[in-house]
Symmetry: C2
Subunit: 333 residues, 2 copies
DNA sequence: CAGCGGGCCGAAAAGGTTTTCATAAACGTC
DNA sequence: GACGTTTATGAAAACCTTTTCGGCCCGCTG
């Protein structure tokens, strides 16, 4: 397979490159018969237009950069998939860059992307906390998951407060009244926000947290186990546990199981993240909150497209999360 | 931030574009003082060369395509990271395309990538089974994880047979003699290969599988649990279980725990994949086999670079896996 | 029949860079 | 002072495509 250029096509079809171009691009000022000849020539040579050259004259490369901080983390991927999906592959291709959480590497990638004349940039953070703005750039940028610290930028984030509310709301609807909250690192805004949503929703029903306070700790199964043991000792009458992540929820379930406490009949458990390998395979399968990240990625792509078409936006947009009901929660009978 | 061209830089420095180009690219035939002037002008305008234009004349776009079949799957990501890492970001950027296992979409992406004049292609499959070759293309291709069915292509795969051997070898060294193997879907070559390696290694010590045969099933915790229950009923004297994946291993551990069978003192358990969220958080943490996928990705990038520089390769290269020792295995005392 | 408008087509410029080749200047040698 | 050499610079072509604009031919109108 070689590399045919438009010149070759034109020559084979017996026309000029100008008409060949117009014929292939569906411009009207070319006779049907001529167009036909050109199209056939193009097929015969399996011609594919050089996007670099096109980009040079149209001043649009048809590419965007996706700058992520941690690829291995599970949050970037769905966003990335949503974004990749929303840009039709024939219209726009995405450059993937993983900065590995390193500011130097990020600068590096940024330079490279601008040199490649990307039409726009999506920046997705590793955790939902505010991150430094990239500053003024010659192309539009949208921040996803982790908002920028500059309100002049456009940031798209998930509603963690709402997620906390939603979890508690569900538990209350299940008739639970003694609800505890075990969650991760208090240094994460995600942990704080979810906890705040939970407390607020409890207060609306005149309730407080079982166990007296939020159990902050780490984002791990081990912490889920440890906290649950302590909780059971201190507050054995607990009838529901809201875990700040599915990992923690797995630890919670594990200890409940070990203690022969039935889930959901005696204690209901709800997780967070809908990380399917954890939530779907647990015993029983875990009710949890889904962050809708793929949707977030799609919206990011749309907003970016709009900005590239001259309709910029700014501020922080918050997107709702949703409840995934499985078997670890059920109404008290 | 605007967009300075080389012309602007040249004008500001009071030279021609030709010398400006040479100055910035470190060509020798330019006076030090002149170079200095040009460099300063470039900085002042924060000039960044248009890679599209460069690619047009050098006939190298400095980009490669990464065509994956399932992004959400956990196997593509490490490979992708390794590859992205091996191409220095300033040299080569990678276009990410997820075909979602759909042949049509793959064709689509392929056309787009070729149109973008990528210098090469890495194709990473969703599962280690042989996949269809893309056929003859104008750029070099390397297949990673899933080998191509065409021996004229270059494929890079992990050594599943060796992985099976390694797992059993470790268990034997721990003094275990009654070893069972519970694994996933027999339709996966990965399952077959790992089982084969296991059986071979056992035979070398004159052993057979405890439980009489390989327990094929599904790649899920639930199957791990179910199979373990059946196994314990049939062969209660088992002293080690080799699970075909970490998910399965989690199910195995779960049932052993439930049955109050101590791990590793009475039964040792080894997993496969080193999926850290599962293997690292289990009780006890899981000894397992790591596929070294990031390394595979790096090698893929290297082989591709070599091919782009005119040193093509063909055939299937198999890469060793490695044992990750945690606490679910230990010598019998 | 002159003039005119419309339909098709091609020549040429543009986009930003690299590279080749010619030119100019400076220098050293006899 | 003439000539060959080296060194530094610039003009122009090339990469591939799109788009503008001018030209040609045709048929139609007056």
């Amino acid at each position: 397979m070689s590399r045919a250029t438009l010149r070759d096509v034109a020559k084979l079809a017996g026309v000029s490159v100008a008409t060949a171009s117009k014929a292939l691009n569906g411009q009207p000022q070319v006779r049907a018969q001529t167009r036909e000849r050109v199209v056939r020539a193009a097929e015969q040579l399996s011609f594919s237009p050089n996007t670099l050259a096109q980009g040079l004259i149209t001043q649009r490369s048809g590419t965007v950069g996706l700058l992520t901080s941690d690829l291995e983390g599970r949050f970037s991927i769905p966003i990335l998939m949503g974004a990749e999906d929303a840009f039709g592959s024939d219209q726009t291709s995405v450059f993937l860059c993983d900065a590995r959480g390193d500011a130097i590497r990020e600068k590096h990638h940024l330079r490279a992307l601008l040199s490649r004349r990307v039409d726009g940039l999506i920046v997705v953070g590793a955790r939902p906390d505010t991150r430094l703005s990239l500053g003024e750039l010659p192309v539009p940028v949208v921040y996803a998951y982790a908002p920028s610290d500059d309100p002049a930028d456009l940031s798209l984030v998930t509603d963690n407060v709402g997620g906390g509310r939603l979890a508690i709301d569900h538990l209350i609807r299940c008739g639970r009244r003694r609800i505890a909250h075990i969650t991760g690192d208090p240094g994460y805004s995600a942990a704080q926000d979810r906890a705040r949503g939970a407390v607020e929703r409890l207060a609306e029903d005149g309730l407080g947290l079982a166990g007296g306070e939020v159990w902050f700790g780490m984002w791990s199964e081990a912490w889920g186990r440890g906290a649950t043991r302590m909780l059971l000792e201190r507050t054995p009458e607990v009838d529901a546990i809201f875990a700040g992540s599915d990992e923690i929820a797995r630890g919670v379930l594990d200890v409940l199981h070990e203690e022969r406490i039935e889930v959901p009949s005696r204690v209901a458990v709800i997780g967070f993240d809908n990380w399917s390998v954890l939530a779907g395979n647990s015993r029983p399968p875990l009710t949890t909150i889904d962050l809708n990240l793929e949707h977030l990625g799609r919206i990011a792509a749309q907003r970016l497209s709009a900005a590239m078409d001259g309709e910029p936006a700014a501020g922080v947009e918050t997107f709702p999360v949703r409840l995934i009901t499985r078997e670890s929660t059920a109404p008290l009978r």
